[in-house]
Every structure is written in structure tokens, then in C-alpha cells.
């Protein structure tokens, strides 16, 4: 009998035609496998004949061994020789057989082994050992195969841990290669997480787990196929329908792809998505809707694979065990951590108290412990209760924003959000998210679905906060570390692309409307909402400017600065852009783009700082018209504002400006007005006074004499010679909190000092801490700048922060007969960043005088007295 090329092909074509009619992929791969079996057996007999076939068996392994032969898959063959020498002699026969297959249009890959070789551990090639789980007799000497089948059950029982770990390692590496997510726009249906390979891994692991039983019931020598136990028998039964359905879906899908592409290409491209949507009875435009079917099925397989991997794969070395056990100490009355996974102590409580779910997510976001499959199932089951709970909770007083904010702030927020999405609770919390759930929006650059992209932006920023070795990245990292309320930025990122879900036209506008309703529901306070609105509305600005405008042109920074308005917003928008581009695909934020983004940030930052510091409010009429209710108040307010830096209007909202203005009558009555208030964990002190020499130094000194630590300060003066100073300080000893009377003493002491009735030096005398003896860890930098401002000399001081620093610096200026017009004090950890705008006798200092003053400031930083 001859089975040449045409013979083989003739058998396969009708199978393909039948599949294209029925769409039954499971049936197709079986029939193809059977057809190839017949051809291979015939080719074997032709090549080896009766005699030469003694002592050699032809065995199908891998997918072919499972009788699952996809249209363009390789046919994996094992030539099993009882003796090595026979294998050598059979070279030409093997070549002849393989040629026959190639000519028949079937790609074969083969190996040649003895039973002893086949049943020994190949540490570098776990796949080879695993492929024998599916070994199946095709032709030749049955006795040779029986020799292998005698060894295999014992081998698997012995090596199952090693093999399971190997599979675990390979699977993790494969998942990592695909970004650890199923949500790809053009996924690989075989290799990506949740693909066919994952299903197979689940089957193999459950076979290995039951290897001992099989070893006990030795396989009869006449067996034609070897299987420890039917591979799917041990997979979780409660989700059986779901994963059987998913399996059917994926098998058909891969068959289609092979038929369409004519080769073993498993990427579900946009073009193929359209063809498949059309086949499913939808229009090609509905491909994105059809893709949701894909993700639904793949999600089932992904979960199945993770579950089996978690159960079977045990830790490899003791370090991991130690780490895991350390985590188990994280357990609390609600949650337990065991084997590195999170369990609920009272899962039934979820029904009564669905709010428990939020605490669980917070736990995950804090510790990064993945929930056990059981936990995930429980949460998913309580989604209905959770929805009901949220319905009752809605509104300003719900406190929902605070629980969401505390999750977003934590380092593993991405992990928590992923669990929320997988359990359906993200959609319960934000129904707006359903629109972008698994949404494929076609784009040449994007790699992930819209929801996955959005969640990844959050992951990016948390990773950024941890710091980076790369100098350029470290700049952004510092920006992130400085961000005071990252949760607002992170919330904006969560919603920046929500408008892509089923809306025509501009996704930014649609996203704003959706974010608005969500913010209302969770009771987000208004100032935060305003920031979110701004960030979403402008999230595409920086990428457009980076490549579309000349960054070296000062006009670019000027225009963008006027759009952004404040440094805080610039910082948030820069980070948002960083995260948004990074989450497009792993290569999207090239050093090239990062550089452009940083340059735009710096140019705009400098522009903002310059104009805010140097520009003065010429006429306060416009602002006064908005804030004041009647004519006389308008006049008074306009006068109050004139001469203050423009920055004042940018950093203070209408309410604050009104509060400051209300202090003016007090100032007129008593020549000083002091207001102390709390701001989050810090205190804010506002002082209005008539300007005089040493005033700033006196106020700073008084605050230091109460052992308070100034972290930010601004000193402005208006045209009338009124000074408006704002100090933000920390109270490290909690003096003000524990002794309410101290707050009054602080304000009254300040008033006395401002009025010149107490000498601040006496106050400080008792408190004065000796100058630091250790070498400062922060590199000191003191410089002046006579270019930026038309009327003042700028002094930049960067140095290690210490108590009384501002007092010493301000005194230095005053001793040298300099007037301080504007002061901006900022601290980052132990680093103080101070900028002084200074005049001497109403003019800028000349360069020589400024240089001398720099040296004196240097000494003041070291704590040596003037």
C-alpha cells in the first residue's frame, strides 16, 4: 500500500470543509488525528516492513498523542527503540517515513529514544517528560511500548513534584511574556494567559497529582494508550460546564485561525476578529462585542489554570517558605493568610455585611496577598448583596470615597482592582466600568483592552513610587513620591478612558460625564472632583504638545503653563501622561518619549514658577469683582490684592482668599492678625502684619521656639506694605493636639513678637539646639539669579532641613539690609528647598554683593551665628 502525498491530503481536505460548515473544533482535531494515524501507520509499514519493525514502536506524543491535531500543528512522533544500536541502523527508514509525511503536507517533528531514556528526568526539558503523559501507540512493536508503559507510572509518581514545579515555572514565564494578563487586543489563543496551553497545563497538573493511584494500578501491557487517568476527570467539577464550553470555544477558534492563515499562527488579529464575528452572525463592526465572548471564555480557563497551579505547585526553597510564613502573620480577625493566599475567616458574613469586601480589597492592596480561589468565588457570589449595599450607601455621607481612596493609595492597588474586576465587584462599584469591560478599541499601538490599560496605569504609578535606578525615571519617581494625595490622580486614571465605551466622538467628553456621576455616587468632595475633571479633560494634552510643538520655544511652555495654571496640576498631569503612555504597551514609553515629557515638564514648571513668583497682581479689580458682593467691599479687596504675586491667586481658592481678606479689619484694629488652623496632619498659620525688618525671621523663629517644624512657607507683600505670610508646619511632639491651651499661647506670643513686644532671640535662646555635628547628607546648593525677575535678586537655597533654618536664613537677609519680597519654602523629607526674592534699597543686588550674601547664607545653613 502506498500513502503518498496526494493520498494524505485527500483525506484531510473534507475534514476541513466539514469543520467550516459545522464549526465543531473538537470533532475536527479528532478526525484529523485519526486520518493522520492511518497515513502514519501506512508509511511506517512501508518504511520498516515486517522484519525491521521488531523492537521499535512508533508513538504519538503531545497534542497528537491526545488525538488533538489542529490543521497546521506539528505531528509529534516518538520512535521508541528497545536498543540504541537498532536506532542508529534505522536512520534511513525514519527519514523515509518523515519525507512521506512532509510530501503529504503534514509537518512532523520527531525524537528517537529507548524506553529507559524516555522515562528519565530531563531537568532542562520538562516539556519532553510531560509530553509522554499523552503517549499513544501508532504502529510497530507493541512490546517496546509496553517496556515504556511499565516505567512511566512509577516515574511520574516519583518525579511529580519536580515536574509540577517545572510546569509552574514555564507557565509563569509564558504568562510574564504576555504581560500577565488575558486582556490583549490581539491575543495569542494558544500561548497567552487563558489560552489553550493553560487548559492543557491544568490537565497535566491534575494527572500528575493523581500519579500514585495510577502507579498502584499498573497499566496492562497490551494498552494502546497511556494515561495516568483521564486528564479532565480531576478538574474542578463545579465549574465543569463553564470550562468545557470554554474548551470548545478555544478549539474551534484555533482551528479557524489555522484554516484562515494556512499556518500554525495563533494570533487573533483584528482582521480575523472581524471574520469570526461575521461567522458568528454579527457584522464585522461588532467584532469588539464578539471579543467579549472570547475574554469570557478565556477568563474561565485562566482561572482554572491558576487554581490548579496554586494547588499543585509547592514552594521550591526555604526562603520562599519563610517569606510565605511571614505573610501568614498578617492574618487578622477577618482574614487569614495561609500558603501565601488570602482566606476569609467567616465567608458567610459577606451576605450580612457586604462592606467586608471593601476591607478585603484594602487588605490585598496593602499586602499584595492574592485571594485563594475559594475566597474569590465567595466574593463573586456576594456581588448581588454588594450591589444592594452600595445602592443604600450612595451619596456624600457614604464615606465610600474614603474606602476607595485608601485602596487606591496602597502599593498593591492594581492587584486589588484586578480581583475586583474578576469578581464583578468593580462593575458593581462603578457601573461605568461595564462599558469598557474587555473592550477592544483598535489602535496600532495599544496592546491591552481599555479596562486592562486603565488598571495598568495605576500599577505603573505605584511601581514608580518605589524609585528607579535610571536617572530619568527617577525624576518622575520623585514627582510621584511628592504627590500629596495620589488617590485623586489614581481615580482620574481609573476613569480617563471610560468614555471609550460605546460612545461616538470624543471619549474625553464622554468620560467626564461618566466620572461626574461616579464621583457624585461615592461622595467625593468638591475640590477633589475639580482636580479629577481637570485631569480627565486634559489627559491628551501633554502627548500632543511633546511631539507637536517646539519644546525649545518659550511660547510652548508659556501657553501650556497658562492652561495648567498650578504646579500641583502640572505634576499630576505629567504623572498621568507617564502612566497613560506606559500602559499602552511595555515598549511605548521609550527613553525618547520620557525625555520629551520631562523636558516639557521642566519648561512648564520653570515658566509657572517664574511667572508666579515674579509677576505681581497689577489690578485686583477682576478677581474682586468675582468675590466681593458690593461696591465698597470690591474696592477694598482689589486694594488688598494689588501687588501680591500672581501665584497667590493660583494657589489659594476663593474661600481662602475671602478668609484672608476677613483678617484685614483685625490687622487695622490691632496691627497684626494671626489665624491658626489644621490642614490634614499639619497646621497652617496665616499672619497679616505691617512690613518691617526682621519680621519674617521673627515669625519663623517664634514657630521654631515652640518646637514646630516648618515644612512650607510663603511670604508675600502687597503694594500697601502689608505682608501676608503662610506657614505650614508639623507638630512632631503633638504639643498642640495634647495641650489646646498651647495653641492660644502660640498665637498670642506671635502677636507680641510681631508687635516688637517680645524679642524672638530670647524665645529661641532656651530652645536653641546645637548645630548639627554630623556631615549633612543632602548636598548643599546655594545660588543667586539676577535674570529671572526684573526688580529682585533670587536666592535658591537647597540644604538639609533642621529646626530654626528659616529663622537663620531670614535673619541673614535682614542683617544685610535686604528686604524679602517673596519667600517660597518647601521640604522634601530632609531636603529644604527655599527661594527668596530679595531687594536691597529698593533695587536688585549687584553680582558681587549677591555672591557675598551666598557665602553668608552658606554659614547660616551650617548653623554658625552671624
Amino acid at each position: 500500500m502506498t500513502a503518498g502525498a496526494p493520498g494524505l491530503l485527500a483525506g484531510l481536505e473534507p475534514i476541513k470543509q466539514k469543520f467550516l460548515e459545522t464549526g465543531d473544533g473538537l470533532e475536527m482535531v479528532r478526525q484529523r488525528s485519526d486520518a493522520v494515524d492511518r497515513a502514519v501507520a501506512a508509511l511506517f509499514h512501508e518504511a520498516f516492513g515486517e522484519q525491521a519493525a521488531s523492537g521499535v514502536a512508533l508513538v504519538a506524543v503531545g497534542g497528537y498523542g491526545r488525538r488533538q491535531l489542529f490543521p497546521c500543528s506539528d505531528v509529534d512522533l516518538l520512535f521508541l527503540f528497545e536498543r540504541d544500536s537498532a536506532a542508529e541502523a534505522a536512520r534511513d527508514r525514519i527519514a523515509k517515513l518523515l519525507r512521506g509525511l512532509w510530501d503529504g503536507g503534514v509537518r512532523a517533528s520527531h525524537s528517537v529514544r529507548t524506553p529507559a531514556e524516555a522515562a528519565s528526568l530531563a531537568p532542562d526539558n520538562v516539556e519532553l517528560n510531560i509530553s509522554l503523559l499523552d503517549a499513544r501507540y501508532l504502529a510497530g512493536d507493541m512490546a517496546a511500548l509496553a517496556r515504556l508503559f511499565e516505567r512511566l507510572p512509577g516515574f511520574y509518581a516519583r518525579e511529580k513534584q519536580t515536574l509540577a514545579r517545572g510546569l509552574d515555572r514555564l507557565t509563569r514565564a509564558r504568562h510574564a511574556k504576555h504581560g500577565d494578563t488575558i486582556y490583549h487586543l490581539e491575543p495569542n489563543v494558544k500561548e497567552a494567559p487563558g489560552g489553550l496551553r493553560d487548559f492543557q497545563v491544568a490537565c497535566w497538573l491534575s494527572q500528575l497529582a493523581h500519579a500514585e493511584e495510577a502507579a498502584a494500578n499498573a497499566v496492562p501491557p497490551e494498552a494502546r494508550g497511556f494515561a495516568l487517568s483521564p486528564p479532565e476527570q480531576h478538574l474542578p467539577a463545579e465549574t465543569r460546564d463553564a470550562w468545557m464550553e470554554a474548551k470548545r470555544f478555544l478549539f474551534a477558534l484555533r482551528c479557524y485561525l489555522h484554516c484562515f492563515n494556512g499556518r500554525d499562527n495563533n494570533i487573533l488579529t483584528f482582521e480575523n476578529q472581524e471574520r469570526l464575528a461575521e461567522r458568528a452572525g454579527a457584522s464585522p463592526q461588532d467584532a469588539a462585542v464578539w471579543m467579549r465572548d472570547y475574554f469570557r471564555n478565556v477568563r474561565v480557563i485562566h482561572r482554572l489554570a491558576r487554581r490548579t497551579l496554586d494547588e499543585v505547585a509547592t514552594p521550591e526553597h526555604s526562603l520562599f517558605t519563610m517569606f510565605r510564613d511571614r505573610k501568614s502573620r498578617l492574618s487578622n480577625p477577618d482574614f487569614a493568610v495561609a500558603r501565601g493566599m488570602l482566606y476569609m475567616r467567616h465567608p458567610e458574613a459577606l451576605v450580612q455585611n457586604p462592606g467586608l469586601a471593601m476591607r478585603l480589597f484594602e487588605f490585598i492592596a496593602r499586602h499584595g496577598v492574592p485571594p485563594a480561589p475559594e475566597t474569590e468565588r465567595r466574593i463573586g457570589g456576594a456581588a448581588g448583596n454588594f450591589r444592594e449595599y452600595l445602592r443604600k450607601q450612595c451619596g456624600a455621607s457614604s464615606g465610600l470615597w474614603f474606602s476607595i481612596a485608601s485602596i487606591l493609595r496602597l502599593p498593591h492597588a492594581y492587584q486589588a482592582l484586578v480581583v475586583m474586576r474578576e469578581t464583578g465587584l468593580l462593575a458593581a462599584l462603578f457601573p461605568e466600568y461595564e462599558r469598557i469591560d474587555c473592550l477592544v478599541v483598535r489602535d496600532f499601538y495599544h496592546r491591552y483592552t481599555v479596562d486592562e490599560h486603565s488598571l495598568r496605569t495605576i500599577k505603573t504609578l505605584h511601581e514608580l513610587r518605589a524609585g528607579s535606578d535610571d536617572a530619568l525615571t527617577q525624576h518622575f519617581s520623585e514627582l510621584m513620591q511628592e504627590t500629596e494625595r495620589p488617590e485623586v490622580l489614581l481615580f482620574a486614571l481609573l476613569f480617563h478612558d471610560v468614555g471609550k465605551g460605546g460612545w461616538e466622538g470624543n471619549h474625553t467628553t464622554a468620560g467626564l460625564a461618566l466620572a461626574e456621576q461616579a464621583m457624585e455616587r461615592i461622595g467625593m468632595p468638591e475640590p477633589e472632583r475639580e482636580t479629577v475633571r481637570f485631569l480627565i479633560a486634559h489627559h491628551l494634552d501633554m502627548p500632543a504638545i511633546m511631539t507637536g510643538r517646539d519644546l525649545a520655544d518659550p511660547e510652548t511652555a508659556r501657553a501650556f503653563a497658562s492652561q495648567v495654571g498650578t504646579l500641583e496640576r502640572l505634576q499630576s498631569l505629567t504623572l498621568m501622561t507617564y502612566a497613560d503612555i506606559s500602559a499602552v504597551n511595555p515598549e511605548a514609553l521609550t527613553p525618547w518619549r520620557k525625555d520629551l515629557l520631562w523636558q516639557l515638564y521642566v519648561a512648564t514648571h520653570n515658566q509657572l514658577t517664574r511667572e508666579m513668583e515674579a509677576e505681581r497682581i497689577g489690578t485686583g479689580a477682576a478677581v474682586a469683582a468675582q468675590l466681593a458682593s458690593n461696591y465698597s467691599e470690591r474696592q477694598a479687596l482689589a486694594r488688598f490684592l494689588e501687588g501680591l504675586p500672581t501665584r497667590y491667586l493660583r494657589i489659594h481658592g476663593p474661600d481662602q482668599i475671602r478668609r484672608h481678606f476677613q483678617l484685614k479689619p483685625v490687622l487695622e484694629r490691632r496691627s497684626v492678625a494671626v489665624q491658626l488652623g489644621r490642614r490634614h496632619s499639619l497646621y497652617e498659620l496665616v499672619v497679616l502684619a505691617r512690613d518691617r525688618a526682621f519680621l519674617l525671621a521673627s515669625i519663623a523663629g517664634t514657630i521654631s521656639s515652640f518646637a514646630m517644624n516648618i515644612v512650607k512657607a510663603e511670604a508675600f507683600s502687597n503694594r500697601d506694605g502689608m505682608i501676608l505670610d503662610t506657614f505650614i508646619f508639623a507638630d512632631p511632639n503633638r504639643t498642640l493636639e495634647l495641650n489646646p491651651s498651647e495653641a492660644d499661647r502660640l498665637t498670642s506670643t506671635l502677636e507680641q513678637v510681631v508687635l516688637g513686644k517680645i524679642d524672638v532671640r530670647e524665645l529661641l535662646h532656651k530652645r536653641r539646639t546645637p548645630a548639627a555635628t554630623h556631615r549633612p547628607r543632602i548636598a548643599r546648593h546655594i545660588a543667586f539669579d539676577n535674570q529671572t525677575s526684573p526688580n529682585e535678586t533670587l536666592f535658591h537655597v537647597i540644604t538639609e532641613d533642621r529646626p530654626g533654618l528659616l529663622y537663620d536664613l531670614a535673619s541673614t537677609f535682614s542683617f544685610n539690609r535686604c528686604d524679602i519680597d517673596v519667600v517660597l519654602i518647601d521640604t522634601e523629607g530632609r531636603k529644604a528647598i527655599d527661594v527668596f526674592y530679595v531687594r536691597s534699597k529698593g533695587r536688585k543686588l549687584d553680582d558681587a554683593a549677591a555672591r557675598r550674601l551666598c557665602l553668608k547664607l552658606e554659614r547660616a545653613c551650617s548653623g554658625s551665628e552671624e
Partner: protein
């Protein structure tokens, strides 16, 4: 055949593409590059501390054209990329021995 390599300002890319399209040049290779010529990079002050930008982001365009099209292509490209300031970039021209279209083995100018 000539190869034209042009290093230009990133924000000029769209203008250059438009201009090339007008003279009938559709095919080109574009890459993101960093470098500096006489423009050298510049110094920025951020928070009082100087930092130097050594390598500036630029865009490189590569086009291969028949000899007869060289001058008009270079003119279109140069005109579109010019702002008159330092850092506008450079255009390099070199000779190409042969070109082959991989799909069907077309050679020479026919492969362009």
C-alpha cells in the same frame, strides 16, 4: 538611486510628511533617535539645580529615491523642516547600489 537621511525636530515630522506627500513620496522609514550636533544640548535649571540635556530627542527619516527625484525631495524636506533656528537638523545623501523588493525580487528603481 540615492538615500536621503534626515534628522529633524520631532514636532516638524507631520509637516515634513505632508510636504513629501505633495511631491509624491509616500514610503519612508521613521525612527525616534537622540543626539546632538552643534546645538550641543542645553542646560535647564530645575529647583535651583542644573541638569544638562546632552542628547536631544530627534526624529530620523530615511528615504530612497531615484536620482531624478533627489533635488525636489530634498528641497521639500528641507523647506518643511526649517524653522531657522539652531537644532533644525541635517540631511545626509548617499548613493545606493541596489534595492530588492523581498516579495517578488524586483530590483533597482523598480523596487522603490
Amino acid at each position: 538611486m540615492k538615500k536621503i537621511e534626515a534628522v529633524i525636530q520631532p514636532h516638524k515630522l507631520e509637516d515634513v510628511r505632508e510636504a513629501l506627500k505633495e511631491v509624491g513620496i509616500d514610503g519612508m522609514t521613521i525612527s525616534d533617535v537622540r543626539g546632538h550636533g552643534r546645538q550641543k544640548g542645553h542646560r535647564e535649571v530645575y529647583r535651583g539645580q542644573e541638569y544638562t540635556v546632552d542628547l536631544l530627542p530627534k526624529v530620523k527619516i530615511e528615504i530612497v529615491v531615484p536620482d531624478s527625484r533627489l533635488e525636489e525631495t530634498v528641497k521639500a524636506l528641507g523647506d518643511a523642516a526649517r524653522t531657522g533656528k539652531l537644532g533644525d537638523g541635517k540631511i545626509f545623501i548617499s548613493s545606493i547600489d541596489d534595492a530588492i523588493r523581498i516579495r517578488n525580487n524586483d530590483r533597482g528603481e523598480g523596487a522603490l
